[in-house]
């Protein structure tokens, strides 16, 4: 593994992220729209004895959404790089495919976690009280799930060569992942088929881990669906699988 390559891939992503103002603005705007437009409207439909206000319920989901979108976006940029030739520069370098996958994965991790932190700062507005330990836990989970989703995005990127496929990925993979992650409604309330889909969705476990940490510990209809242990185990295992398979696919396709 080449640390120099991993470092420079992350540095490039970070530099471009800071430079692209529009990406920063939409980072902040999208969660606000969901929390205060969708969340506020939906909370009128939900009975007050469900355990918590709907705007509170979707907060972990919105954190998850922020991570989902920015991780996928960061990884999908590989397709852009392929299209505009830059990827050849990376592939021709004396660098193992594993380092490239890890470097790109960490690139997504850094920018996604940064964006998640910005959204996390909204918690007092929603009536949460989070202590320093909880905040630290949220950060660790955000890091792990960002890496998991980013490496998943890299897998996607190996199958597509032109960025026209971007909207396909957004509509048929990313949006369903979001809706079936327990972000909008508890997984236990879903009909069987959808619950199954939710259970094979990597994002579900990230969102669930955040619920485990952010929500009060008393169980209720809106609380987490799995144990924190399960969530973390699934995230770590999936990350290992995505990295290994991603490196293999790169080896073959490039």
């Amino acid at each position: 593994m080449e640390l120099n390559a991993i470092y420079v891939l992350v540095a490039r992503e970070f530099k471009k992220f800071v430079r692209e103002r529009s990406r920063l603005v939409s980072t902040i705007a999208r969660p606000l729209l969901w929390l205060f437009l969708v969340g506020a409207g939906m909370s009128r439909l939900i009975s007050p004895d469900a355990g918590m206000p709907y705007t509170q319920f979707i907060f972990p989901g919105i954190l998850g959404m922020t991570i989902l979108f920015s991780s996928i976006f960061s990884s999908i940029s590989i397709i852009w790089d392929k299209e505009f030739g830059f990827f050849k520069e990376i592939l021709a370098a004396p660098v193992s495919r594993l380092s490239i996958v890890i470097g790109k994965g960490l690139s997504g991790t850094v920018v996604s976690t940064l964006q998640a932190v910005i959204v996390l700062l909204l918690f007092p507005l929603l009536g949460f009280r989070l202590g320093p330990v909880q905040i630290l836990e949220v950060l660790v989970i955000a890091l792990a799930m960002s890496f998991c989703i980013s490496t998943f995005g890299i897998l996607l990127a190996t199958f597509y060569d032109s960025y026209e496929s971007f909207s396909v990925i957004m509509n048929f993979i990313v949006m369903p992942m979001f809706f079936l992650s327990g972000a909008m409604y508890p997984v236990k309330l879903l009909p069987d088929a959808l619950a199954l889909a939710a259970k094979i969705n990597p994002l579900t476990y990230g969102v669930d881990a955040l619920k485990n940490v952010i929500f009060p510990p008393e169980p209720g209809p809106m609380s987490a669906d799995f144990s924190l242990m399960t969530d973390v185990t699934v995230i770590v295992l999936l990350s290992v699988v995505f990295v290994t398979v991603g490196a293999r696919l790169f080896e073959r396709k490039a």
Binding site: V8, D81, E83, F84, A93
Partner: protein, 325 residues
């Protein structure tokens, strides 16, 4: 010493034989030209040498390392300038080169100095902090050449380096390229289909249908075409033809009112002709064979203009436009 050694290289894919058992060697410190029409196997050969594709059979060594089994060492020994730009347009010139230096494991303390030297070498120092998307085609190509040198490779591959450039940028780039073997102690392996540009090469191999059909220095190759051509305008072609035949025992062809004759030493032949024909001569022209003639004779066709890059740059612009909207 041969820095590149290729033995019986074959590359097949999808039932197609792109490279059909080629062998050649490239001496260290020279400029080697790899010429051929579109689809002749040039880029496939480069891809195998650069370890981006694996050979079906045969062997390729660069700097003593096997391209198939020691790809990492081969990659460290080579720099590549691809046919299409591979720069990150959203980074500055400096950032692109520094990215490359990190990627190739150049020591951190040396990166700044090396990047500055390389950018100065291609005369882009005052633009080093500009985003690459503001660069012209010629500047981008020069920057890519600079980037290819950052990790001090032993061999630099240039795939159609001047394709799509205007004459001035082309001249600029050639100045840079011809200086490189001495200044950077690097061997250059280049493909081109601009025959006049191949003149700077020490040695040339011509490839067609996956096979090398001729190899040698530009002069050696030109000799195979069969000498210089002299064309003459005279007051009386019929009479002059007879005189030429009588005096020099050379047969002259008449085409469109001019006489054509071939000679191994055209320059030395002209004074004799004029002495022999006296004031019947109106004008004399000497044409030496070009590499184009060599190419024409060997492949039966003039080397085609490659459309590939032009199209892909249009495609690129359309896509960039759509991305913005």
């Amino acid at each position: 010493m041969a820095i590149i050694k290729v033995e019986n290289l074959v590359k097949r894919y999808n039932g197609l034989t792109a490279v059909d058992g080629i062998s050649f060697e490239v001496e260290e410190g020279t400029i080697f030209g790899f010429l051929g029409p579109n689809g002749a196997g040039k880029t496939t050969t480069i891809n195998v040498l650069c370890t981006l594709a694996s050979a079906t059979s045969g062997r390729a060594l660069i700097n003593g390392y096997d391209c198939a089994r020691e790809s990492s060492k081969v990659r460290k020994s080579i720099g590549i300038v691809f046919q299409d730009t591979t720069l990150d347009k959203d980074l500055t010139a400096y950032e692109n080169l520094s990215f490359h230096a990190h990627l190739y494991g150049v020591k951190k303390s040396e990166i700044r100095g090396r990047v500055h030297d390389a950018i100065r070498f291609v005369d882009l120092f005052d633009r080093k902090d500009d985003l690459v998307k503001k660069f012209s085609g010629g500047m981008k190509r020069r920057l890519e050449v600079a980037r290819g040198l950052i990790h001090r490779p032993r061999v630099l591959f240039l795939d159609e380096p001047t394709l799509g450039l205007d004459p001035q940028s082309r001249a600029n780039l050639w100045e840079v390229i011809t200086e490189m073997p001495k200044k950077h102690r690097v061997t250059i392996f280049m493909t081109t289909h601009y025959m006049e540009e191949a003149e700077v090469c020490g040695r040339i191999a011509i490839i067609d249908h996956g096979r090398i059909i001729a190899e040698g220095s530009p002069d050696e190759l030109k000799k195979t075409v069969g000498g210089d051509v002299i064309s003459l305008k005279t007051r009386d072609n019929e009479w002059s033809r007879g005189e030429i035949s009588r005096l020099f025992n050379i047969h002259a062809d008449e085409k469109e009112g001019e006489l054509y004759l071939t000679s191994n030493r055209g320059d030395a032949c002209i004074p004799d002709l004029i002495r022999g024909l006296g004031d019947m001569v109106v004008s004399v022209k000497l044409q030496r064979p070009t590499l184009n003639d060599v190419f024409l004779k060997l492949t039966g066709k003039a080397i085609r203009d490659e459309e590939g890059s032009g199209m892909s740059s249009i495609k690129e612009e359309v896509r960039a436009y759509r991305r913005r909207h």
